[in-house]
């Protein structure tokens, strides 16, 4: 900014130091590229340079023409030559080589790494290896153990035994020489081993162990030379007790069996068929099992042969070793005799105490009319009912009686046990609340249920069992939604019922049956009410505090009780309101259309601007947008009617005609004037400045004769174009056309005018406006002298010969005015806007010069003028 301008701005009160005033929008030159190639990821990279790389920097995605996804080998298709037809190769010879593809074959390193990571240690508790060592160890061992084991056993071992898996401990032990089945510890002598064998017992049953003792005779001379492995300590394998029987109880055993003798003890194993060749140490084979064992359960003693009055001594008892171990007992009992001389059965002892005498009672007196009815006895007596099958665990577990209940039945003092349920952790109040809710629900359901059932089979007795509703439910229902608002009488009965249910102390009268109602109906009604109450009660108790209802409960329309008939006034008011609402909705236009009064009421006229191209295509000149505001300014183009409107209007002060450029205030925005701010004409003069047309020069320099010669053809031209237009459109009435008032031929100047009347009035108006505008315009010294043709060239401006001198004068003035060609600019401006100048305005009047203004005009243009 120059200092002068700054100063001037300062005078005007513009802060020159503000950023706004000194803002610079210019950018000169192109910015240098950044010094170093930054690694900015957000940096713009052209599309063809963008590529995707994995973390190792390999290119992952390629274009479709370079092989798509990771084509490898220079991104070709696998060969330098590119695509080549595959040759057929038989896979016949390679079949054996072919391996089944595993998923791993298709994975790359990362995938395999992922797979490895995802693998967890599968099993930390491995099974025992029965053969010692792992498979690999075993394989290694085979080489040196060949002598120890013959190949067949090895083969058997490997095939039969499960794959060896050893715990670490077992492996260590094996390394130290331990073998499966041996005890742990230092090796012992035969003697010690024998003692151990004797002491051995079965861990599960607590009886003497009978299996796998070392059967080396004591007198074996070789025996002492060796040490023996210790006897294996039996592992106490406690079988899981998964039933609820008492200890020692065997389900399905009778009393004798369970109490009489502990026969089952010691010999749980399969009963072996008696016979020779089976030693006690012999293991039972499948064939040795006694197939006749089953039905002799009671007689634990079996005879090897039929025994008829044979000697007791000769009885050969075949059985387990347990029986054989106590022969003395049986012998003592065998010697006892009953009093009648019979031998007491072995295993039984004679009782010392005499059998107690049975007490006998006298028969009751049988009534005389009593008749024996065995059938009844048969039916009622429980004894005759086949005893129920032994209850299985699951069954009696499921029986309804709980342990506590059973305890109560038995009169046990209840244990102060740990709390069993959620309720035990709840506060007393909460528990009560829940109980109340539960009871409410239960009672309701049972009530209605029983009622329904009782009502169904037969007509119930006259005293109707009221459908009960819990008091708190009833109270809640009273407060809640009222379901029968539509039926006031029913509503009343409903509330009565609820009230009666709510205070059950009898303070509220119970609902009574209506006289015409029969019992069934009444019953039904009550049930309905009970149901409604349970349905429409607000959420009670525990839940109520936790939820809020989303919507306002609809209480139904306001009911006016009794036989309410709205008064006439009310009805009228309502109707009037309705009518008013309707009328509000219907616009006067619609109303008129409804009445058939088409015309001005139904017609709306608005300005519509057809686009320029459309006008061109239709062969129509573009109408002026400011027809409405400036009717005089643009009539020549818009209206087809062709008339001589302003003959009567005297041309004001012939020498001093004033023409002001009519400023288009609110023309449409188009691309051309975007960015020019509010003032559309800003900068237009500079932009549209061009050499003034010859007319001006002619007007200035040519003689009058020449002018008139020029004029004539123009005037003749004028009427031609609009005439067919009027014919085409015909929207203007003929009366408007050719308004033939006396014409002063000297002032005759045809113009286009939109409508009758309007033109004159608006002409005057515009004149006033112009006068007002004069002052403003003068600042720009915009004196309008223009004979510029429209760019279309077919709207010929009429010219007024009379104005010539004035114009000339003015132009001369302009010339003399320091060569200031603003006038020319302004003239051009108006011309470019295609505002035709009405004849009366075509000459301008120089107003009395304002000294102040003039001084300003002479000086430089101020900054304000630009702003």
């Amino acid at each position: 900014m120059t200092t002068r301008l700054k100063r001037k701005l300062g005078e005007l009160g513009v802060d020159t130091s503000s950023r706004k005033a000194s803002e610079n929008f210019c950018l000169i030159g192109t910015p240098l590229p950044p010094l170093e190639k930054s690694k900015d990821t957000g940096e713009f990279v052209p599309l063809w340079k963008q590529d995707v790389r994995d973390e190792k920097g390999r290119r992952r995605l390629h274009g479709a023409f370079t092989g798509g996804f990771s084509a490898g080998y220079f991104n070709t298709v696998g060969s330098k030559e590119g695509w080549a037809p595959a040759t057929f190769t038989s896979s016949r010879n390679e079949r054996a080589k072919k391996q089944a593809m595993r998923p791993e074959d298709f994975m790359d390193e990362e995938d395999i790494q992922d797979l490895k990571d995802s693998r967890t240690i599968v099993d930390t508790t491995e099974e025992m290896d029965f053969l010692g060592g792992t498979q690999a160890e075993l394989l290694g061992k085979t080489a040196d153990d060949d002598s120890a084991k013959d190949p067949i056993t090895r083969a058997l071992e490997t095939s039969l035994l499960p794959t060896p898996k050893d715990s670490v401990g077992a492996r260590i032990l094996k390394r130290m020489g331990w073998r499966l089945g041996q005890g742990i510890g230092t090796r012992i002598s035969l003697k010690e081993r024998k003692i151990q064998d004797k002491l051995a017992y079965d861990a599960t049953t607590g009886t003497k162990f009978s299996g796998s003792t070392l059967d080396i005779p004591d007198d074996d001379e070789e025996a002492d030379k060796h040490t023996y492995a210790r006897r294996d300590t039996p592992v106490l394998a406690v079988s899981r007790k998964d039933n609820s029987h008492g200890l020692g109880y065997v389900p399905g055993l009778g009393l004798n069996e369970s109490l009489g003798k502990n026969v089952g003890a010691g010999s749980k194993g399969p009963k072996l068929a008696g016979g020779f060749g089976l030693g006690a140490l012999n293991d039972a084979d499948e064939d040795d099992l006694d197939v006749y064992d089953h039905d002799q359960r009671n007689s634990r003693q079996r005879l090897a042969y039929d025994h008829i009055n044979g000697d007791d001594d000769d009885v050969v008892v075949v059985g387990g070793r347990a029986e054989r171990s106590k022969p003395t007992v049986s012998r003592s009992s065998a010697s006892a005799y009953f009093r009648d001389g019979r031998v007491v059965l072995s295993g039984f002892v004679l009782s010392d105490q005499p059998v107690a005498e049975d007490r006998w009672f006298p028969l009751p007196d049988i009534p005389a009319n009593w008749k024996p009815d065995p059938g009844r006895v048969w039916e009622t007596n429980n004894e005759n009912v086949p005893p129920p099958a032994p209850v299985r665990d699951a069954q009696w577990k499921r029986s309804a009686i709980s342990a506590d209940q059973r305890g109560v039945l038995l009169g046990e003092t209840p244990l102060q046990a740990v709390p069993r349920s959620v309720f035990d952790y709840m506060s007393e109040k909460d528990r009560e609340r829940i109980k109340r809710i539960a009871s409410g629900l239960k009672s309701l359901s049972t009530d209605t249920g029983t009622d329904a059932r009782s009502a169904a089979p037969a007509p119930p007795p006259p005293p109707v069992s009221l459908a009960k509703v819990e008091p708190h439910v009833a109270q809640a229902a009273l407060r809640g939604f009222q379901p029968f608002t539509r039926d006031p009488s029913k509503q009343v009965r409903y509330t009565t019922y609820l009230q009666s249910q709510a205070n059950q102390d009898g303070s509220a009268p119970p609902l009574t049956r209506l006289p015409h109602q029969n019992v069934d109906e009444f019953q039904k009604e009550l049930e309905d009410y009970a149901k409604a109450a349970s349905l429409f009660k607000p959420m009670s108790g525990a839940m109520a505090g936790r939820f809020t209802s989303a919507a306002v409960i609809d209480h139904g329309p306001k009911i006016i009780e009794g036989l309410h008939t709205p008064s006439i006034a009310e009805i009228e008011a309502k109707e009037a309101q309705q009518r008013k609402e309707e009328e509000d909705r219907i616009s006067p236009k619609a109303h008129a259309a409804k009445m058939g009064m088409y015309g001005p009421l139904t017609r709306e006229k608005i300005v519509w601007r057809p686009s320029k191209l459309l006008c061109k295509r239709f062969g129509v000149k573009e109408p002026e947008s400011d027809v409405v505001e400036e009717p005089v300014a643009g009539p020549s183009k818009t209206t087809p009617s062709f008339t001589h409107p302003e003959q009567g209007v005297p041309i004001p002060s012939a020498g001093k005609d004033v023409t002001t450029p009519v400023q288009r205030i609110d023309g449409p925005r188009d691309l051309a004037n975007i960015g020019l701010g509010e003032d559309e004409t800003q900068g237009q003069d500079t932009l549209s400045y061009e050499r003034p047309s010859m007319d001006i020069f002619k007007a200035i320099f040519a003689s009058d004769d020449e002018e008139s010669d020029d004029e004539d053809p123009v005037e003749e031209d004028v009427p031609d174009p609009p005439v067919p237009a009027t014919e085409k459109i015909g929207f203007t009435s003929a009366a408007d056309i050719l308004n033939d008032t006396p014409i002063d031929m000297s002032t005759l100047k045809p113009t286009f005018v939109p409508r009758e009347g309007k033109s004159k009035k608006s002409g005057e108006k515009s004149k006033e406006k112009k006068d007002k505008k004069d002052k403003k315009k003068k600042e720009k010294k915009s004196v309008l002298v223009s004979f510029e043709m429209d760019e279309e060239g077919d709207a010929v401006e009429p010219k007024q010969p009379k104005d010539r001198p004035a114009k000339k004068k003015r132009n001369v003035e302009n010339e003399t005015n320091g060569g200031d060609d603003h006038a020319m600019w302004a003239a051009k401006e108006s011309a470019s806007k295609a505002d035709p100048i009405p004849p009366s305005m075509s000459a301008s009047v120089e107003p009395p010069p304002d000294p102040d203004l003039q001084s300003r005009q002479k000086g430089r243009k101020r900054a304000v003028d630009f702003m």
Partner: protein, 314 residues
């Protein structure tokens, strides 16, 4: 406007039936000039060209994917435009039977298309309540201008020499005057089915879905005549002028063709008119020059050409 001798009686003798359409016929237009040919468009997505005199089909134009709702023929008869459910205006070359252009931009089905006088602009009125004016001279794909004053679907429009008349479901007839730069909208009050201005553009005939056909003064918007008697409540049926604009002709939803005297709005004989179509008559059009020929298109799939007995015989 009306000739002094009074309206000619309506041609009521069946001359030819054009029945190749598979579904209802929505539109049928005479060609320009001597109007020897008829173009029909129907629900079966085809436009068919017929010889009106012999009643034979000449050509089928099949490119539409939806029903054809409107056809307009250019002045030189070399091309025509059609529109329908496709939401685009198809411009056809008659000789080759191919579409030369498809103008898309509407958001709904296009009910009506019309060329201007020299076929440089085609106007299309659509369900999306806009009228689009497409330039056919340039290759510009965007419409020249969109007239979106209508508040509901534009059912009918007519492009005159210097104005465009549109009729919309919102009950308005809008006259866009290009010369005046003015939009005059007349509220009829009922959905407008068809609007046809008279040759002199002083009046226009508007058929609305309240069983009325009205003759309105286009300069003032006043009602000049009201024609009633027919049934037209739910479908677009086109009303047209009879020969020399001396009468008003309209088909109705019962399949009858009604005719009124333009001046006194009296029903012409026979009254009531005979039932000529099985279903609603969607289109009536009087031959542009011939006194005694008109055609009716109906939803029953036929287009019928009517002539006076003596013309038929010849």
């Amino acid at each position: 406007m009306a000739p002094s001798r009074g309206p000619q009686p309506l041609a009521r003798t069946l001359h030819a039936t054009l029945a190749n359409h598979k579904g209802g016929v929505n539109v049928s237009r005479y060609s320009k000039g001597a109007a020897k040919y008829v173009l029909t468009g129907g629900q079966d997505r085809t436009v068919r060209l017929w010889n009106a005199d012999s009643g034979t089909e000449i050509k089928t134009f099949a490119a539409h994917g939806y029903e054809v709702l409107s056809i307009t023929v250019s002045q030189d008869n070399a091309k025509f435009a059609s529109s329908g459910g496709d939401r685009s205006v198809f411009l056809w070359d008659v000789a080759t039977g191919t579409t030369t252009r498809r103008l898309s931009g509407h958001m709904g089905k296009i009910y009506v298309v019309d060329f201007n006088e020299d076929s440089t602009v085609v106007a299309s009125g659509s369900f999306d309540s806009s009228v689009r004016l497409w330039d056919l001279r340039s290759q510009n794909r965007a419409p020249i201008q969109i007239l979106d004053e209508a508040r509901d679907a534009v059912q009918t429009l007519h492009v005159g020499s210097t104005f465009i008349v549109t009729g919309s479901i919102d009950g308005h007839v809008r006259i866009y005057d290009l010369r005046m730069g003015e939009l005059r909208s007349d509220f009829i009050g009922h959905p407008v089915g068809s609007v046809i201005p008279t040759q002199d553009s002083q009046t226009y005939l508007v058929a609305t879905l309240d069983n009325h056909i009205r003759l309105m003064d286009s300069s003032t918007g006043k009602l000049l005549n009201d024609f009633t008697g027919h049934l037209n409540e739910s479908y677009r049926t086109r009303a047209c002028f009879g020969h020399a604009e001396a009468s008003v002709v309209c088909g109705d939803e019962n399949g009858q063709v009604w005719a009124w005297d333009l001046l006194d709005a009296k029903l012409m004989q026979p009254n009531p008119p005979p039932k000529t179509h099985q279903k609603i008559i969607t289109w009536t059009e009087h031959h542009p020059s011939d006194t005694g020929e008109m055609l009716t298109a109906s939803a029953d799939g036929t287009v019928k050409i009517w002539r006076h007995p003596q013309n038929t015989a010849s």
